[in-house]
């Protein structure tokens, strides 16, 4: 079971990506829970997550979130802007899996 938390300003545009990532995970037979929240909701959600990915438009929060991730021992990174823009669920899923296994 893989728990992937996505975060952007309002949690709206990342929720687009959630559907695509879920589809990609299903294709690969990967059991996963993927959800998107706004930046201020990360603290309340991070305990349920294995990895945290930030939308590129809030990547200025990366140092802050990595600090939080360090405390919780959860890897944090930002999503490649092009993959994000094209809603490339498979690629972002790959990033998440690679991040978890690092």
């Amino acid at each position: 079971m893989m728990n992937i938390l996505l975060c952007c300003a309002a949690g709206m545009s990342t929720s687009l990506l959630v559907t695509k990532m879920e589809a990609a995970a299903k294709d690969q037979g990967l059991d996963s829970k993927i959800w998107a929240v706004s930046a201020d909701q990360v603290k309340a959600n991070i305990d349920q997550a294995d990895v945290l990915l930030l939308g590129p438009q809030v990547r200025y929060l990366l140092p802050q979130m990595q600090q939080l991730g360090k405390e919780k021992n959860i890897p944090v990174d930002s999503i490649n802007p092009i993959h994000y823009g094209m809603c490339n669920g498979a690629e972002v899923l790959k990033t998440a899996v690679a991040l978890k296994n690092k």
Partner: protein, 442 residues
Amino acid sequence: MNKFLGFLESKFMPFAGKLAAQRHLGALKDGIILAMPMIIIGSVFLILGFLPIPGYADFMASVFGDQWLAKLMYPTDATFNMMGLIAAFGIAYRLAERYGIDAITAGVISLCAFLLATPFNVPFTPDGATEAIAVGGAIPVAFMGSKGLFVAILIGLFSTEVYNFILKKNIVIKMPDSVPPAVSKSFVALVPGFIVITIIFLIRLVIEYFGISSIHDVVQLVLGKPLGLLGGSLIGSIVAYMLIMMLWSAGLHGTNIVAGVLSPVWLMATEENQIAFRAGEELPNIFTSQFFEVFINIGGTGATFGLAMLMLFWAKSQQMKALGKLSAGPGTFMINEPIIFGTPIVMNPLLIVPFFLTPIVLIIVTYYSMKLGLVAKPAGIAIPWTTPPIIGGYLATGGKISGAIMQAVNVVIALAIYFPFFRMWDKMKQQEEGGVNSSKVS
């Protein structure tokens, strides 16, 4: 141009990061956001009160009596027009959260301090009298709304700072060990709360000593007026918007970063318009929150709905075609991250030009259309920023067709400005694809 983009990346990232990590700005933004659902709920009743259907008012009066409209505004008054009160609590709460101290206590201290800053009397002109007298025993509702917003912000931040300082310095009432922990905990808020209340009390006494009616008047003069001039003028609005666009060009959420500073000004203008709209008076402001959300950000920041339509119907390259299909849906609800990162507009010298140009042209055109009375001004009705175009313009102007038309005109303007740049970009993509026959993005 590349130098400029390099500058954006290297300077804005740390700047935006610092701004986002700045406790007070973050608390200010999150505290005010707390009022937003209430403002929108209040707007629903406002829309119901002013449905632009012929005979609607007469019908309502015949069913619910003459006072129907005044009664329908009860919920609006208790939600939309309480944004100051909500912010006083919310900002203190959010700041305390960031300090890791008891947030709800901080919120309550700030709430009381905010009320203390407000004289409990309202002006009233009796029949036959020429001058208003102050009637006691009433909390002035006007200061609980946007008029009190600046004081709410200052007190919310200040009182929590004091609370935090005193807790961290460990100046609390120590109870003997025999006192149950829950009891001694209930005294923790006493010292900081007492100090905050005393400070605001003294400030109020000093201000009254000088014959000024309240702290609100001072803050309005020192903060509200200058900021209002900045946010309420054409030049000020364009400058503020340029800053948002510059951040977005570097791929950062500009609206989110700048909003903390500007949203109080635009919210205040929104409420002023709402009050005038209800009274059937001339609307005082053009630049409200809805001016930008509804008329400028059509399809998202940069008015990219036009660009999404171009991609959907006229793209020749596989990549732009795919992106058109992907972005038209979210674009209809004013979400444009796929366009910004997928096209991409971010760090793209060609498309940044119309990305800047379009909203500036739209601000100018919309402003003058409203100023000259061709188009209805935003009526102070707050609708969710995700409301699709045409519907949004109609609702935000209080049910005026001209609002919907203005949005349609703005979409056409955006289409026209984006068109040549889109063509060039689409052609470049087509050539790339012709070489390597692959639609994969790398």
